[in-house]
Symmetry: C2
Subunit: 179 residues, 2 copies
């Protein structure tokens, strides 16, 4: 809240990642901050704690009435969901041979997500889907090595190659009559 209050001009997009700690210790204040952000980012258990709903779809509907227009629910190795209005987008985590150290994966994901939005300047829902894929790709580098080691020497090509893996992972081609 204090960070937001220091801004003389409201930025184009405010993204917040919160966690169970603040729900346990500062519920009312947390609700006031959530009201002021555009994109809220939580994991699945935090979405449930925030709403009392087990169903992530129901939890998302409720959170989208609390202020944020967009909600990202991170599910760790099970991927991430992006909700906006009645639309849902899902990105899997990359199936890896070995997860060496998952520490920081969620933060890397958030960094990749907001970094893509910031570098393109495009905050449309379509580009947020891409940002989710960028976040997932970056997180896949983090978990492969210890700490930040997996990120330190990445090239543009490394990232591009990994994005390509995501395209191959989920791409299919069903022809629908009415679409």
């Amino acid at each position: 809240m204090r960070v937001l209050d220091q801004l003389t001009k409201r930025p184009k997009l405010i993204v917040m990642d919160t966690m169970n700690y603040w729900m346990d210790s500062a519920w009312d204040d947390l609700m006031k901050v959530i009201e002021r952000v555009d994109v809220l980012m939580v994991n699945d258990s935090e979405a449930r704690q925030l709403t009392g709903d087990y169903s992530l779809v129901k939890a998302a509907q409720k959170i989208l009435t609390m202020g944020p227009k967009y909600l990202v629910i991170k599910k760790g190795e099970h991927g991430a969901l992006l909700f906006h209005g009645n639309s849902v987008f899902f990105a899997p985590a990359l199936p890896l041979e070995e997860v060496f150290d998952p520490t920081g994966a969620g933060d890397t994901f958030a960094g990749g997500f907001i970094g893509h939005l910031a570098s393109t300047g495009d905050i449309s829902f379509g580009n947020m889907k891409n940002a989710i894929i960028y976040g997932s790709a970056m997180a896949s580098f983090t978990v492969e090595k210890f700490g930040t080691e997996g990120l330190l020497n990445l090239t543009k090509e490394d990232i591009e190659d990994r994005l390509k893996l995501f395209v191959d992972l989920v791409q299919f081609d069903i022809s629908l009559v009415n679409s």
Copy 2:
């Protein structure tokens, strides 16, 4: 094995779904049947039991040396993976407001998968991806109601609408320089 032995002509594709019960009680016989099928379908814990590998990527690599050319790993609410050679395809489960009764979801998935392959006669990897989506769509109807109720009165349009939800759920549009 007895079913396979009764076939006078080997069909174009043999798909088998197995489970922990047979791994616990008839390991050697199970291995002999697995050797004879084209597509093996198991859930994540069964893939781990079958190989001793926690990583599903490693487990898949091992299972693809046991006979099957294709492996489907079902992860329930977390979707399904299709492995073939070095390729991987992933389909999420549809995020639903309520899962009323998950009984039979895996069997419905298998039925939708093989039904799509049988009705199109196309057993390419590309069409198997579509079959995974069909299986996931059919399973989403099963879990919404009790027993087989969700499937009894489905129309082609209902199925088409649900397939469309899957397209919307995973579709994104990243332009990659080298792809």
